[in-house]
Symmetry: C2
Subunit: 379 residues, 2 copies
């Protein structure tokens, strides 16, 4: 059976779903691998590298393919030359693409969504949300360090001591913890906050100080946070305000892809920071944790003291800013999924496996859309 | 006596020679401190902060001043209302400003050059070349981490291991060592090279690997390197080439301000790096350690394999990219100089002190320019 690797078409998407070093895992399992020309260009991977690894590269890679791998979902038009009842593995975010899902269902395509890999330990190696969050979290910390024109580390010099920067990280999921770890590596004094009970210990384990706002915790399913009431959100903002005012850099990561992000920081809280401060909002793509943020842009917010401004950086497809490592990790996740779904030398997902059923969004045998994630679980 | 703090006028200069928290050191010693309005603006320091610290802020700060503090040298025109036989303390780089020096001498001004503070242990707290190099070295590492779209640290994930970046630092003076330390903090695998014998141990002490090119060392006066012959330089480039090709990021810091920097990396060596690599040249202001560099700009150099390009970043007044910490450290150096030159409650530099004589460039009693630094000592 042919596995096709699609060239991404979404603007700004630089990742690729398979990297040359993993081609052998698929050909070794008996698959033919065909890559669309230029698929790796955004990640600086040459077509020849795929060929050298045992794949073919051709414009008609999807023709007759039984399985199509991509980062963003491939459009129906591009799938029409695939083998009958072909399957796709990619991010889908079905909640945002209800129309696409219905059309895929009608076209008899089997769709597996990478963001629906269950958060169970057996599926960790397939968890692309986590692997891409790792990339985002690192990148956010580096962006904050680059935009802040202060030292992150403490420096002892003959002329005196340079005090370390104060960094506040809001949201301590995979991205937030990676941001904390990276800021700590650089020597900043880091505080972290998350609404989940388990987060405090994880924040502390990285050498940061967990903030306790004396509010009830909000643990939801799958390790994510539950949605909070507007009363609690207002109280949370009020109690976070002094911590934000004290920080040189704030990094917000309270987002679950595909959901509206909660506003953790108001415009007034940003304006209350000192001139030259930096706010990095990883959740900008889903509305932002920070009021006034622009995804993919930098907004200079004048400070309330009139002496300068705060740089408010909004992330947009942040993993695509590090396409090499993001692609390598994503490809690893995807190949592990394909391997799980390969039985007796064929692509044959086990309908009794909760990972398979968790990822399945459309299938010829399904008469309606598969249920979305529990609607109570929100960022 | 009035000490004036000048507002910098050189384009791109964001530092200021005195910060509010050090005003008290000068007023406590009996001086009046007057600051030109907006002097701290580039470093985000408000006029009011100087006033609150006990200084006055006014447009005529230099009128009647006996001592003028600045980062870049103040022009003669601005000095004409100072007290007779006024003194200045600033960077001067007399070698590049022969005309200025003669005019200052003719005008009867006493000029102390911060870059001529002797490299002796008693003068360490006045060594502004070192303090500003510390800032530059940190900044170069952060720029490299921000431009390279790979992880600096090794990451172990459920989906596999992300390999750490390979960084090569050329020149292991204060800036180079700080760049090494910062890259190591971030988890990169770092190699360092310097022509001086003592450097290997310092490089190793920071967790980096000193490169041995099997060439004679070149130790000069004051801890700087001696100039090398063109034969040796060619051999050095040849033997460095494989290390450069293996690096994801190269940071070059082989410069002494005011001197022409040696070319350590040719254009061909840059083109031989892999696509997406980053070269950060701290020496770009003095011609560059890297062929083809532009001070204050980024040049995308196509790679020899035709698959992408290398980003070649040229620093221009790099300390000004971090004006807050650079100003605080510089001000500390300057205040320590003033303190040294204050005897019996007056500004009265001791002509028998080697720090005073080392820094002195023009003085009414000198009939010719003071000798420049030993011309054999070069980067």
């Amino acid at each position: 059976m042919r596995i096709a690797v699609a060239r991404e078409t979404e603007p700004g998407e630089t990742r690729v779903a398979l990297v040359p070093e993993l081609v052998g895992r698929l050909t070794g399992a008996g698959y033919e691998v065909a890559v669309e020309p230029g698929a790796g260009r955004g990640a600086l991977i040459d077509d020849q590298a795929y060929v050298a690894a045992g794949a073919t590269v051709n414009e008609n890679a999807l023709h007759g393919a039984g399985l199509v791998l991509s980062v963003q979902p491939v459009g129906l038009e591009a799938l029409r030359f695939c083998a009958p009842r072909a399957a796709t593995v990619s991010f889908l975010f079905a909640g945002q693409r209800a129309g696409d899902v219905a059309a895929r269902q009608a076209a008899g395509i089997t769709t597996f969504a990478m963001e629906q890999v269950p958060r169970i330990s057996r599926a960790q190696s397939m968890d692309a949300l986590s692997s891409q969050s790792l990339v985002s979290g690192y990148r956010c910390a580096i962006v904050a360090a680059g935009r802040l024109r202060e030292f992150f580390p403490l420096s002892m010099t003959a002329a005196g001591t340079v005090r370390p920067a104060q960094v506040l990280v809001l949201g301590a999921g995979v991205a937030g913890l990676q941001a904390i770890a990276t800021c700590r590596r650089l020597g900043a004094v880091v505080k972290g906050y998350d609404v989940r009970a388990a987060a405090a210990e994880e924040i502390a384990s990285l050498g940061a100080t967990p903030i306790d706002l004396d509010l009830p915790t909000l643990d939801g399913a799958g390790g994510y946070a539950r949605e909070m009431s507007e009363d609690r959100a207002a109280l949370q903002r009020e109690r976070l305000a002094p911590h934000i005012a004290a920080a040189h850099a704030v990094i917000t990561t309270a987002a679950v892809p595909g959901r509206q992000a909660p506003v953790l920081v108001t415009a007034a809280m940003v304006a209350g920071m000192r001139p030259g401060s930096v706010v990095v909002d990883l959740a900008a793509d889903s509305g932002g944790n920070v009021e006034g943020v622009t995804a993919g842009g930098v907004v200079n917010v004048p400070t309330a003291d009139g002496l300068g401004s705060v740089q408010l950086w909004g992330g947009s497809n942040v993993p695509s800013q590090m396409p090499g490592p993001a692609s390598r990790l994503y490809a690893q996740n995807v190949v592990n999924v394909v391997q799980l779904m390969t039985r007796d030398g064929r692509f044959d997902p086990d309908p009794a496996d909760e990972i398979v059923t968790g990822m399945l969004v459309t299938h010829p045998s399904l008469t309606t859309e598969a249920p979305a994630v529990d609607p109570e679980v929100t960022p």
